[in-house]
């Protein structure tokens, strides 16, 4: 196998070849500092992902869905957003979350079973609550986009979604509503080849980006392991949305290197050889190769990022394991703005 099978078909937009040699204009609008920051985020994210898997094994997290291999897709797209833009994530966008400034410890409250959705402030961070029912968040993204446009803001909503989730009715309803209302929204599909045990070819018989035309909106297929291409495709879509030209559907071809989650045993349904092939297309290796070849970073620079990553991961672990259990009152505090009398009685029974 040359490459993961779901990458077949239409060639995706690409700036860097798999080995890091440029095949397109590498000036995607990122300064050298920003490029170094992107590489740093990718190194930090991967290290954090590994730490989370370790934390889960040690019982500090309940279940954790890793994102190894998807760093370019998440970080390239997240970096293309402005401060006012709003992200509507699934359950696998921890990399995008930290880039957007979400406190990883608060984010991990979710995977620790401390609180639903992530207790960070979604309005302040412009990062929506972790969303489990697949595809439902896209409807929120579109509604939000319609709403900010009504206020004359030029903010954009970006909704992440996986390949498997595109089979849900909510994907369709959200896409169609976004198109009809020309909502300033970007639907970013991370096609990582798998939906738990189901490969993309059994999820759909077409190419996901091609669905765009049916909605009358632009569709883009991009190499999701090429951070520069992902950045450019997302930046273009965001600019289009800001201009008032409506939504864009982006399919980013990437790969889920790990199992679906720490609760999953991919060995039951996936040939390890496929993963080995996919590893040859590592997004960090590729970007780093170009960064050094183009003299933008040297060994020491990378080493310092790795040190940062080590510290970052250790800090997250330290703060997370120090977190206690939430008070039981929390069950009752936010079910309603003012709890009805009947619920107050239950609260007393539960806490008293």
């Amino acid at each position: 196998m040359e490459a993961p099978e779901h990458w077949a078909g239409t060639e995706p937009e690409r700036v860097l070849a798999h080995d890091g040699t440029p095949v397109g204009d590498t000036d995607v609008g990122l300064s050298d500092d920003q490029l170094r920051a992107a590489l740093r985020w990718m190194i930090l994210a991967r290290r954090l992902d590994a730490e989370c898997i370790a934390l889960q094994r040690q019982g500090e997290l309940t279940v954790y869905p890793g994102f190894e291999g998807q760093e370019a897709a998440q970080i390239g797209s997240a970096l293309a957003l402005g401060a006012d833009d709003f992200v509507w994530p699934t359950f696998r966008e921890l990399a995008a979350a930290i880039v957007r400034g979400v406190d990883p410890v608060q984010y991990l409250w979710y995977h620790r079973g401390t609180w639903h959705g992530g207790p960070y402030d979604p309005r302040a961070t412009r990062f929506g609550p972790i969303c489990i029912p697949v595809a439902t968040q896209l409807c929120h993204a579109v509604g939000y986009a319609i709403g900010v446009a009504k206020d004359g803001s030029d903010a954009v909503a970006l909704g992440y979604i996986g390949d498997g989730a595109t089979s849900e009715g909510d994907f369709h309803e959200a896409m169609n509503l976004a198109a009809v209302f020309r909502a300033p929204a970007v639907v970013f599909v991370q096609n990582n080849g798998w939906a738990i045990s189901v490969p993309t070819r059994r999820q759909t018989a077409g190419e996901i980006w091609k669905r765009a035309e049916g909605y009358g909106v632009p569709g883009v297929r991009v190499d999701g392991n090429d951070v520069l291409a992902v950045y450019r495709a997302t930046a273009d879509a965001v600019a289009r949305a800001r201009r008032g030209d409506g939504p864009t559907l982006i399919e980013a071809l990437t790969y889920r290197i790990g199992a679906h989650s720490t609760a999953d045993d991919a060995g039951r349904y996936r040939d390890p050889a496929e993963v080995e092939v996919a590893r040859r297309f590592d997004p960090i290796v590729r970007f780093r190769a170009w960064m050094s070849a183009s003299g933008r970073i040297d060994e020491d620079g990378v080493a310092s990022f790795e040190d940062d990553a080590e510290r970052f991961a250790n800090d997250v672990r330290a703060s997370l394991v120090a977190e206690g259990s939430p008070p039981a009152e929390w069950m009752f505090d936010w079910a309603y703005a003012e709890p009805p009398a009947t619920l107050d009685r239950q609260r007393r029974e539960a806490l008293g």
């Binding site: 309005r123 439902t136 509604g143 909510d170 009809v180 009805p340 009398a341």
Partner: protein, 327 residues
């Protein structure tokens, strides 16, 4: 608006939407056929002209998308009043309502309110087609995080809808289609009992007949029929199905000792089950008879030709009241 003014429920609801749009520029009204057409029941008639397409707009046929969009709009600070065209057509939105509308506030630790009103023309009795006469209240009342209300009269419809739109929590607003057109005289006013409060619409000491929405009128008719026989029945309009006015239920159960609960929805796990359970919990020692449930049968809602054989009739209500009184 003069005291003499006569209002239909459609007119009162329309006025409530109009006044809410006027008083709060964060309120939006959208759904299928609500703008240009003014709604299949004309509840949203004229709102497009009055407030423009930015605040009152038609959507594609996408109930899940409509409700999901309302969730996103709430994050952007908008208060959505959406319409599901008929009872059964709210079911495609149940996932969004149960998973997000009802839970988002708790999920965000109170940081994000969900001031969403989902208007649903509900219940039967209008010789409607299949899926046009259902009583969906149980699905919503059982879902923690939602409030569920239903008016039985035009004036109360205005008040309840204003309260629902002003509420920071999501409210499922069930409109009794069969009561859309009868008139009531009086002034449309926001003040008065809000959500969570039931009301006694007819006083009496022999027994309490508990109902809501479309069945309240039938219960009043039943009460009138019972009077000559010496049974003065009290009639309670729940108005708020969630939260329930348990204080009122307790008081009536204690004072009358006999309770009948009436609804169109099927018996099993219809509101009557909750009312019966609460009454027993709160007034067991005062009960002289088991709470009687007069409800639709445990079968799918029948075609127009049979709906009056399905819905609680005045006769069945009278019969049940006589039984609890003579128990």
């Amino acid at each position: 608006m003069t005291d003499a003014a006569q209002h239909t429920m459609v007119g009162a609801l329309n006025q409530a939407l109009h006044d809410a749009l006027r008083d709060d520029d964060r309120v939006l009204v959208f759904g299928e056929d609500v703008a240009c057409l003014g709604g299949v029941f004309r509840v949203t008639d004229g709102l497009l002209d009055g407030f423009g397409g930015d605040r009152v707009f038609d959507t594609p046929i996408s109930e899940a998308g409509i409700v999901g969009a309302a969730v996103g709009l709430a994050f952007a600070g908008w208060k959505s009043v959406v319409e599901m065209q008929f009872d059964a057509f709210s079911y495609p939105a149940l996932e969004q309502i149960i998973d997000h509308v009802a839970k988002m506030r708790m999920r965000t630790r109170g940081r994000v309110d969900m001031p969403i009103v989902v208007r649903i023309p509900a219940f039967g009795g209008i010789r409607g087609k299949e899926h046009h006469g259902e009583s969906p209240e149980t699905y919503y009342v059982h879902t923690a995080g939602l409030k569920v209300v239903t008016p039985s009269s035009p004036l109360d419809a205005y008040r309840l809808l204003r309260h629902a739109i002003a509420d920071p929590d999501p409210v499922i607003f069930l409109e009794p289609k069969s009561r859309y057109w009868p008139k009531e005289a009086g002034e449309l006013a926001f003040d008065g009992p809000g959500i969570g409060v039931g009301r006694v619409v007819r006083d009496g000491g022999a027994c309490t007949i508990v109902a809501y929405g479309s069945m309240v009128t039938r219960c009043l008719e039943a009460a009138a029929r019972l009077e000559p026989g010496g049974i003065d029945a009290r009639v309670v309009d729940l108005r708020s199905l969630s939260p329930l006015d348990v204080e009122l239920l307790e008081r009536c159960a204690v004072e009358t000792g006999r309770v009948v609960v009436v609804h169109e929805a099927p018996l099993t796990l219809g509101m009557g089950a909750e009312v019966a359970a609460r009454v027993m919990e709160l007034a067991f020692d005062h009960l002289a008879a088991p709470v009687a449930r007069v409800t639709g049968w445990d079968v799918p809602y029948p075609p127009a030709a049979l709906e009056q054989r399905y819905l609680p009739s005045v006769e069945r209500i009278v019969e049940a009241a006589r039984e609890v009184v003579s128990y």
